[in-house]
């Protein structure tokens, strides 16, 4: 009975993840090497059920060759990295003072402030992105206010631009940055900062030499939590971005649903996964200190 229970506890989630999480990647990898004509679903009927994958081995590197030759994919990968990187920096710049202020608040206030940061994270991501659409649109709040104040005469193009994408990512991922920073800053021993100040350190020097290095684990965790998902972001670039706001998540989605080229999408996904492996391993390294201690 005990052994059965132990086996069940381990095997049930293990098998589930093997079948529904790991095996699918193997299939993606396999299909990325197959011929579009063999593996594509039939083209014309949009709602067909006879889509099938031919598993006769038909190895080709055509998808990857095409991926290398076509600028669209390179631009998408590069732009995703760039947008994710800059958004992460912006997130950090806004979150750090906030997390610091939260961590220094009176104990009774801390829980309320924390709750107010977590709450938007629970409400629909899609709808929070949508909320910005009506603020940024041509006859939206910003343009109308600026025009009625006489600051501008023509509405600015704010929606469907890269600016809107940055704004959307920073807004949506802010809680992911604030929470690890807060957790870290809250645990910091104030004595260090006070000692440094007592020894004559000016506030900025104390911050640079004491507070900042001590909060580095929080900075790293928060940055990775923003950077990694932002690279593959689909909803934000497709709702707020313009036609040239090519991010790889969106390119992949359109490759799949627009062109219905499954092997090509699989190749795009494989490369995206390769790009993400390094930051994900760094993340895992910082996320599991217990595992490391045990090992």
């Amino acid at each position: 009975m005990d052994i059965v229970w132990r086996r069940f506890v381990i095997l049930a989630p293990y098998l589930w993840l093997l079948i529904f999480f790991l095996a699918p990647f193997a299939i993606v990898f396999k299909i990325s090497f197959s011929d579009p004509l063999v593996a594509s679903p039939p083209f014309t009927p949009l709602f067909t059920r006879s889509e099938s994958i031919d598993f006769a081995f038909f190895f080709t590197l055509d998808n990857y060759r095409f991926l290398l030759e076509d600028n669209l994919y390179w631009i998408s990968y590069f732009k995703s990295l760039k947008i994710a990187f800059i958004s992460t920096l912006l997130c950090l710049l806004i979150s750090y003072p906030m997390a610091y202020a939260m961590a220094r608040a009176a104990p009774g206030w801390k829980n309320i402030l924390l709750f107010l940061v977590i709450l938007p994270f629970w409400t629909s991501f899609l709808l929070r992105v949508y909320a910005w659409m009506s603020i940024l649109s041509t006859n939206g709040l910003i343009n109308n206010s600026l025009m009625s104040l006489g600051i501008i005469e023509q509405p600015l193009k704010l929606l469907y631009t890269d600016f809107a994408v940055y704004l959307g990512i920073v807004y949506s991922y802010l809680p992911f940055m604030i929470l690890p920073l807060y957790a870290n800053l809250e645990k910091l021993n104030l004595d260090y900062m006070e000692a440094a100040a007592d020894l004559g350190g000016r506030p900025l020097i104390v911050f640079r030499d004491v507070t900042l290095p001590l909060s580095l684990p929080g900075i790293i965790a928060g940055s990775l939590l923003v950077f990694i998902p932002a690279i593959g972001e689909f909803v934000i670039p497709s709702l707020l971005g313009g036609l040239d706001s090519l991010m790889i998540g969106r390119t992949l989605y359109e490759e799949f649903f627009g062109n219905r080229d499954w092997p090509m999408s699989a190749a795009v996904a494989t490369i995206l996964l390769l790009i993400l492996i390094l930051p994900m391993m760094v993340f895992q390294h910082y996320q599991s200190p217990q595992e490391q201690q045990e090992a």
Binding site: D2, A101, T123, L127, G140, Y171, Q287
Partner: protein
């Protein structure tokens, strides 16, 4: 040496929370705007709400989403709790490193990749064993269980590893079989973590657009899929009303749950303090 809270930090907090909340508040205010144009106030009106309840498509999509969210959150909590137990209470086992990797990876995996890979899995399974015969609520549910069980596992795992194990050890020493000890001692202790896990899984499922779009079949549109197809073309007042309702329900739900968990935590703390002082 207690210093006053600096005014600079107060303004930082005001700015930060304004940034987080102003867009949501504006959305809710706008949902009562009679005018079609977003930033022109045309008077107070419930007409967009009335429109909403007349639209059978929205109601069907909402019901489908709620059904999927309920089933997938329940299964994800079950699987995630088992995974949390496996990682903290079962010692070493073969393939543990792979297991921890598979728990952590879904948290960071872009949804487009998870969605695409699951769809290709379902299509190939259908080819080989004829299951699933068609895609829809069932395949979406499986997809949601897979990514949200990882979140539950992380929550449960952190609760389990920060928990004092002496109660469980005492029960084992007194001859309790592992299965009974887990059921009678461990589970009640981690119930709040399981509840937060369930809630998180529920909202994640309710909110998911990308994975559902990949693995769903003809005729089964979830609420986010329906919303996305609408707002892709621009702002529509109906969606403002729908968004306000969803945001309100979620906020109340999360607020009540957070309050209950906090209260229980406080109660447990005072109880253990009482026991110590006796």
């Amino acid at each position: 040496m207690k210093k006053a809270y600096p005014g600079f930090l107060i303004s930082v907090l005001c700015f930060g929370y304004a940034f987080l909340y102003v867009p949501i508040v504006l959305l809710i205010v706008n949902s009562f705007n009679d005018s079609r144009i977003v930033s022109v106030w045309g008077g107070f009106s419930f007409r967009w709400y009335a429109n909403l309840f007349e639209n059978q498509q929205i109601i069907d999509a909402a019901l489908l989403s709620l059904r999927i969210a309920f089933i997938s959150a329940t299964f994800a909590t079950l699987m995630g709790t088992l995974a949390g137990l496996a990682l903290t209470r079962m010692g070493r086992f073969k393939g543990r490193v792979l297991f921890t990797g598979m728990i952590a990876a879904p948290l960071a995996m872009p949804e487009v990749i998870t969605g695409l890979s699951l769809l290709l899995l379902f299509v190939s399974l259908q080819d080989f064993i004829g299951w699933p015969a068609n895609r829809g609520a069932m395949t979406i549910t499986i997809g949601h269980i897979t990514f949200s069980m990882a979140y539950v596992a992380v929550i449960v795992q952190s609760r389990l590893s920060s928990m004092d194990q002496s109660l469980e050890e005492a029960a084992m020493d007194l001859g309790g079989r592992p299965f009974r000890v887990t059921l009678d001692i461990t589970l009640p202790l981690i119930a709040p973590a399981m509840l937060s896990g369930w809630l998180l899984a529920f909202t994640l499922s309710l909110d998911d657009l990308v994975i559902a779009s990949f693995v769903s079949g003809p005729g089964s549109s979830t609420l986010p899929m329906w919303i996305f197809s609408k707002i892709r073309l621009g702002v529509t007042p109906d969606i403002n009303a729908l968004a306000s309702i969803i945001i309100l329900i979620v906020s109340i739900g999360v607020g009540v749950a957070g309050w209950l968990i906090l209260k229980q935590e406080k109660q447990r703390r005072t109880e253990s303090q009482l026991k110590l002082s006796e």
